[in-house]
């Protein structure tokens, strides 16, 4: 994390068009990619739950999606700030990625509504797992839909010719992405440990009662 911040602050060259404000790119995009990674991991664990009946996969899926939503909200906030600085508006419907994140944010927020309105048990695990799998299908479908619906003003950084960045920018970008992934996985482990402790405590209480 520290290395990433240092690289962002001192190493990466300022963008010719956008100047200093371009540096938020090193937060915004890694956070967004990390959110995708969290959703993907959550769906993978959901699949493991449905397929192999792996014990604990439901909880892991839930925690991953929880962090996905947190990182998704951060993506929306940083994207909004960036849009304000570089385009002068807080929200631009023509930026596909931001709209996609809004859709996903709504979708995964409903995941929590579903989860907290079903009683704890095997059925809740199944419902949540199926819904998480819907999510990974919704990501490409929504992306396609939003891309169809809009023209572009969002700068496309990754094209089929590879990343359109200078070496030092790309290095900084990779380091900050790695830092975000590390942060996400640490948070994931911490929360998972906490939830497992909770569950264990509840079991012990029930044994005592």
């Amino acid at each position: 994390m520290v290395a990433a911040v240092a690289l962002i602050a001192y190493y990466a060259p300022e963008d010719a068009d956008q100047g200093l404000s371009q540096k938020i790119f090193y937060f915004h995009v890694p956070i967004a990619l990390t959110a995708y990674a969290c959703f993907g991991w959550g769906a993978w664990k959901a699949l493991r739950h449905l397929w192999k009946r792996q014990p604990g996969a439901d909880l892991e899926s839930y925690v991953a999606i929880h962090h996905g939503v947190i990182f998704g909200a951060m993506t929306l906030i940083t994207g909004s700030i960036w849009a304000k600085i570089s385009w002068g508006v807080w929200w631009a419907w023509s930026s596909n990625q931001l709209v996609l994140f809004l859709v996903l944010f709504l979708f995964y927020s409903a995941y929590f509504m579903l989860r907290f309105s079903v009683d704890d048990g095997p059925q809740r695990a199944n419902l949540c797992a199926v819904y998480a799998l819907f999510g990974v299908a919704l990501i490409p479908v929504s992306f396609l839909a939003i891309r169809l619906a809009n023209d572009f003003i969002h700068p496309t950084v990754f094209t089929s010719q590879g990343p359109q960045m200078s070496d030092s920018m790309f290095l900084t970008f990779c380091v900050s992405w790695a830092a975000m992934l590390a942060l996400a996985s640490t948070l994931y482990r911490v929360e998972l440990a906490g939830k497992r402790l909770d569950a264990r405590l509840r079991e012990l209480r029930e044994l005592l009662a």
Binding site: L114, D119, F134, L138, V141, A145
Partner: protein, 212 residues
């Protein structure tokens, strides 16, 4: 063949129930007309026809939502779902039968709603009708699925729109695109893709929604 027979029997059960009780269809029909009247006053004179076209899709999605909220009421109140799950048929037949019944309701309501839209606002093009038909399939496939999920939760009526609307956003994009963009055939293609992707997912995973 028995699979199709099961599906037909389940869909017929729902249609028969509706014919006897007449609860859902009149409500949906009145809702869509009332919504169109509201949209007429919500659009100041001088608004473009395109805006009305977009609101047609709002009306369709919310009318479908009204029908979906009622879809599993009988199953829940009379514990029919337990019987269906125990019945010796594939569980995905439950989803398919219910989805076909809901599709029947929605198509019937649109037979009223689309002419009403044409009278109140302006004519409906062939591509809009094709878009509506394709969107109905997707709405019913996904909607029936999330309605079954919502039926298992405590806050059914509350959670259903929250589950359904994010999934319906691509349908609205595809539908509006098909009706307002000139040469919008690729939007129809997109709707067909949506139907195929989500129908397969729903069909494959419905078993986990109704069993433990």
């Amino acid at each position: 063949m028995t699979y199709l027979a099961d599906v037909a029997a389940l869909a017929r059960k729902d249609l028969l129930l509706e014919l006897r009780a007449r609860e859902t269809l009149p409500a949906m029909a009145l809702f869509v007309i009332a919504a169109l009247v509201i949209f007429h006053f919500a659009l100041p004179s001088g608004s473009s026809d395109l805006a009305a076209e977009g609101l047609l899709w709002v009306a369709i999605v919310f009318t479908a939502l009204l029908g979906l909220a009622r879809a599993f009421v009988a199953e829940r109140e009379h514990a029919v779902m337990d019987g269906l799950v125990l019945a010796p048929c594939d569980r995905s037949a439950i989803w398919l039968g219910k989805g076909l019944a809901v599709l029947g309701f929605l198509a019937t309501v649109e037979l009223i709603g689309l002419p009403a839209f044409a009278i109140f606002f302006h004519g409906v093009g062939a591509r809009t009708i094709a878009g509506v038909a394709l969107a109905d399939v997707g709405i019913c496939a996904v909607g029936t699925f999330v309605a079954a999920m919502a039926a298992a939760s405590r806050t059914r009526e509350l959670v259903l729109p929250l589950l359904f609307l994010p999934l319906a956003i691509p349908v609205v994009i595809g539908g509006v695109g098909a009706s307002v963009v000139t040469g919008g055939n690729r939007y129809l293609g997109f709707l067909a893709l949506y139907d195929a992707v989500f129908a397969i997912i729903c069909w494959a995973s419905f078993e986990y929604v109704v069993t433990e």
